[in-house]
Symmetry: C2
Subunit: 241 residues, 2 copies
């Protein structure tokens, strides 16, 4: 049996009861090293198998093999198991292997946990976009930023930066400003639910000149988003409907 578990931001409170049940039921927990370290603090007596970044395929194959051999396995993802998570790759690789029972356990993705810390940025229609061009052509990412801005979506950016992509957030802000005002209310949250958690509300123009790291999630409001008592608030609808 293989569970693909989204365990939320990494604190116990943000995890679902189903996620904990899957982890407790498992003989082995498989995941990216940084994530299994978070879980080890909560469940120190479980057996873990960890691999580094970019070893997703190897990790998923290991989880599938262990499950096929009769073990109960949790393949863990921070946030949700689907959103930029391991569920799709597992279903793709499982196609070519011995049949295994797979259950996907959803979790609170950073758009939701980070949004709650900032206020209520995602009350209305929104788009989620990753700025990582590791598996996606840059033109595709830029097109999506432009379309999201054109549609006046609130936008959440995942993977907004890395050492190799230090200027990506700034470029993304430029594209968004083709259609969004430089005064658009924005926010970001770093280390959601973990040590060193911090958040900030700022304008799109300020965001353009701000450096964030890869543990940050960025929120860009729609045309109605306001800052109320230091919170980022997108209303439920449009005035004058």
């Amino acid at each position: 049996m293989l569970y693909i578990v989204g365990f939320g931001a990494g604190n116990h409170g943000g995890m679902t009861f189903d996620a904990e049940a899957a982890i407790l039921r498992s003989d082995i927990i498989v995941g990216y090293t940084a994530y299994t370290e978070l879980l080890r603090k909560i469940y120190p007596h479980k057996e873990y198998y960890c691999t580094g970044m970019k070893q997703e395929r190897e990790r998923v194959e290991y989880a599938l093999e262990q499950a096929a051999s009769g073990k109960t396995v949790s393949l863990v993802c921070s946030g949700d198991s689907g959103v930029y998570g391991m569920a799709a790759l597992t279903l793709e690789l499982a196609e070519k292997m011995a049949e295994t029972d797979i259950e996907i356990v959803p979790g609170v993705t950073a758009a939701l946990s980070g949004g709650a810390l900032l206020g209520a940025p995602l009350t209305h229609d929104f788009a989620v976009i990753s700025l990582s061009d590791l598996l996606t052509p840059m033109e595709k990412i830029e097109k999506r930023l432009e379309c999201a801005a054109m549609g006046d979506f609130s936008v959440v950016l995942y993977n907004p930066s890395s050492k190799k992509r230090a200027d990506y957030l700034s470029r993304a802000c430029d594209i968004l400003m083709k259609y969004k005002s430089p005064e658009t209310v924005c926010g970001y949250v770093k280390n959601i639910g973990r040590d060193g958690e911090q958040s900030r509300i700022l304008s799109l123009n300020e965001l353009k000149n701000t450096s964030v790291d890869m543990f940050t999630t960025v929120f860009i409001g729609n045309s109605e988003t306001r800052c109320i008592h230091g919170k980022m608030v997108t209303p439920r609808g449009y005035r004058n409907v």
Copy 2:
């Protein structure tokens, strides 16, 4: 103290530990009748205050007043507290009232819980759009559908139908088909995590001719989404990057 709690789909397993803690700590649970009924099954001994649809403002004011009078209150939302939830309206109305401590507790929204049931439709960039034109002009909704399709986003539709809006999903599919193939892999889930849960995978063209109700969440794939062993799977990236 006022908690705005996203309690997930409505089954206990899909709730976070923080959501349960807020509910157990509260003197009174405030919410839309259909949602408080779900919670009453799990927490039968709590005190509830329920109001009907379209009485959001009255409900939020009641919750704020109770909290201001010194009670601990949970204002509950199905799914997430932010995404089409009550967090924004509460922060807006709280602006004009006596200061109250407000904590927003995020939850697993239907895009994630429904996605997990269908497979992994939201692995990559996606847009969430509500088809309800109660508080949003129809032209704005149509523009967003068009922009989301143009950007090759996977799309999740909330509130895809109601008695007054029986043809909205069909019209939305027509707009999406300006840029998406009629063969695009789609899916929908009804009554997620509740009695009568059901899901189906189908093409965009089939979806256009399908009736769904207001308890249904609809998923439209991107150009890479495939159906694998009856599951809707959007890959992590694009081939040939």
